[in-house]
């Protein structure tokens, strides 16, 4: 194993140092570690190229002289090999390390630590004087989010079982366009292949593991796609609620209008989801009355009737 590592490092050094393309023969002749029959060397080299590419190293293939010699040559461009973030200030280095440290979950620590080591290899001291010493955290990031992000960076379709509103798991296929952390939950947003529409999925509602299906680079993210637009795109209906003074804190935070009075305050609250709003009203018990719309009012009333009946 260590022989192979040595060969891969030597290959990287030689391909980085060369100013022109090196042919396979030059590589076999000059780089230490290529041994055995011509066929064996050939196989070794193919595997080595694959391995370096898996590490994200781009090996460029080019002709020596297209007129006389069609033998391919290889090189690694230093500008593609090296970190392109340059001329960073101390503050920027600190910001980047804080960003790397934001990932505290096991599924991400290897990733962020590796990134952090590369950044500290720049050799610039960070400047934490005007910055918080401890990074904020991105929490609840699990293996499934990790797979989803790998799929997002490689543009690979994913498949997973998703708990629908009835609590039943259904298979979904998604071309992921973006991710969102909102109200303490992670969401994947993209094209649901079965519905052929943009949908979002809460990561903790995924049952079992997310898997990548098909090839990388199998779709493009439409340039016009914007998460921010998605939320305001639909017309939201409003509920008019009567809320006891001092109660309904969460509803007050959501409210778009508020009129105070002695016995009941009047709130206008957007209904993003009827079931969610029904639950939220029920949560507040007798402190909240629905004035309109009628659908919300009857949903609440029939829920209360049922609650009374089963607990009677």
């Amino acid at each position: 194993m260590s022989r192979k590592n040595e060969r891969l490092v030597n290959l990287t050094i030689a391909l980085l140092a060369t100013k022109r393309y090196l042919t396979k023969n030059e590589i076999f002749r000059n780089i230490e570690g290529y041994e055995g029959s011509a066929e064996a060397k050939e196989r070794m080299f193919e595997r080595d190229k694959d391995d370096l590419r898996k590490l994200g190293i781009q090996i460029e293939v080019g002709g020596l002289d297209p007129l006389f010699d069609d033998e391919a040559g290889y090189r690694i461009r230093p500008e593609s090999y090296a970190l392109s973030l340059r001329d960073l200030t101390a503050t920027q280095v600190t910001l980047l390390s804080l960003a790397a440290q934001a990932w505290q979950d096991a599924a991400f620590t290897d990733l962020s630590q590796q990134a952090l080591r590369k950044l500290t290899s720049i050799g610039l001291d960070s400047d934490s004087a005007q910055l918080p010493i401890l990074a904020p955290r991105l929490i609840g990031a699990d293996e499934n989010l990790r797979t989803a992000l790998d799929a997002l960076t490689s543009l690979t379709t994913i498949e997973f079982d998703y708990l629908n509103i009835q609590g039943v798991a259904q298979k979904r296929q998604l071309q992921i366009y973006g991710v969102q952390a909102r109200q303490s939950h992670w969401y994947l947003i993209g094209l649901d292949l079965e519905k052929n529409a943009i949908r979002n999925f809460r990561v903790d509602r995924i049952q079992g593991a997310v898997s990548m299906i098909g090839k990388a680079q199998s779709y493009v993210i439409p340039e016009t796609f914007e998460i921010a637009e998605l939320e305001t795109a639909t017309e939201t209906p409003f509920a008019i609620l009567r809320v006891r003074p001092g109660a309904g804190y969460q509803l007050r935070r959501l409210a778009t209008k508020l009129e105070t009075a002695d016995d009941w305050d009047l709130l206008e609250v957007p209904i993003f989801d009827l079931d969610f709003m029904t639950s939220l009203v029920l949560w507040h018990g007798e402190d909240v009355i629905v004035s309109s719309p009628i659908q919300l009012r009857s949903a609440v009333v029939s829920a209360l009737e049922k609650l009374v009946k089963i607990h009677g």
């Binding site: 973030l85 962020s112 590369k118 993210i221 804190y249 607990h311």
Partner: protein, 302 residues
């Protein structure tokens, strides 16, 4: 990227050791092992391998020159590999998202840092094949977090304004904070609450305001875990995703269960919010309280 130590992870480490050593000349092997999250033996093996690498020719003139017998490492003649490797796409995206969180936490209070962050994100975008959409919301503003962490370190007291979902009250409490921790998908501030005279967990996203109480340190001793658990029994009339999410102690598929709660008002409200999908079968005080609350709410509509 591999999670366990594979041959390739080792190759990556060898390549990344060179730039790190170049800017950290004289670093102790033990510290190097810690930075690279591995053992001293592994790192020593790595150094022995690197020592055999270099440009074709492989004479001392071409080989990487490493000195590490003293336990401290210095490196020379390694210019070809001296630049840190580019971030791979997953790394670039993870940093990109981390920056988004920082930006959300800094908000308007540190606009100069927010614009630095935008510049960095612009540079990172070029490494991602297409621009993924990322939107991160912060659970705490950065000043709040800084205050809490400082207070934990100096064992000070905080006054927090907190919204309790169970009682639907916004209250001010004096808290001696122990830690900020995460559980499931939420972040919590744990501390001794002077109003409750007990240790309490506060959800970070429900903390409305935090201020420090000057020159007051933690009580030296107090009862640390005084949370009274309430057992209650439920019957599931209709299983749904919402039921599993509001009552995460339930296993999918069960029809009855005994659950544990820590606050009676929370239990009442949770069962009410489930709109009759779940019935509380016992104890009778809880069952009766839910009945009374539902009935009172229903009377509002008559």
């Amino acid at each position: 990227m591999a999670k366990q130590e594979t041959g390739l992870a080792r190759t990556a480490r060898l390549l990344d050791l060179v730039p790190y050593l170049t800017t950290h000349q004289g670093i102790a092997i033990s510290e190097l092992a810690k930075t690279f999250n591995t053992t001293v033996k592994e790192i020593t093996d790595d150094l022995n391998t690197l020592w055999m690498c270099g440009l074709p020719g492989y004479t001392p003139l071409e080989l990487i020159d490493l000195e590490f017998e003293s336990g401290f490492v210095s490196i020379r003649n390694a210019e070809t590999l001296a630049a840190p490797r580019a971030l791979d796409r997953a790394e670039a995206l993870s940093i990109y998202m981390g920056l988004d969180l920082l930006s959300a936490e800094f908000g308007d209070s540190k606009s100069s840092l927010v614009s630095e962050i935008e510049k960095l994100q612009e540079q990172l975008r070029s490494q991602l094949i297409s621009t993924p959409q990322v939107q991160i919301e912060a659970t705490l503003a950065s000043e709040q977090r800084a205050l809490i962490l400082r207070s934990i370190r100096r064992r000070g007291w905080l006054e927090i304004t907190y919204h309790s979902a169970a009682t639907d009250q916004v209250s001010r409490r004096q808290v001696a904070p122990y830690e900020l921790s995460q559980s499931g998908s939420h972040e919590y501030l744990q501390g001794y609450c002077d109003s409750a005279k007990a240790v309490r967990n506060f959800r970070a996203d429900r903390i409305v305001e935090v201020t420090e109480i000057a020159d007051q340190l933690w009580p030296s001793n107090h009862d640390s875990t005084n949370q009274d658990a309430i057992e209650y029994q439920v019957k599931i009339h209709q299983a749904s995703r919402q039921v599993l999410e509001v009552l995460p102690q339930l296993s999918p598929g069960v029809s009855t269960a005994t659950l544990v709660g820590f606050s009676a008002p929370w239990i009442y409200r949770a069962i009410l919010s489930l709109a009759g999908q779940v019935e509380t079968t016992g104890p009778s005080q809880i069952r009766d309280a839910i009945h009374a609350r539902a009935k009172a709410a229903l009377e509002n509509y008559h």
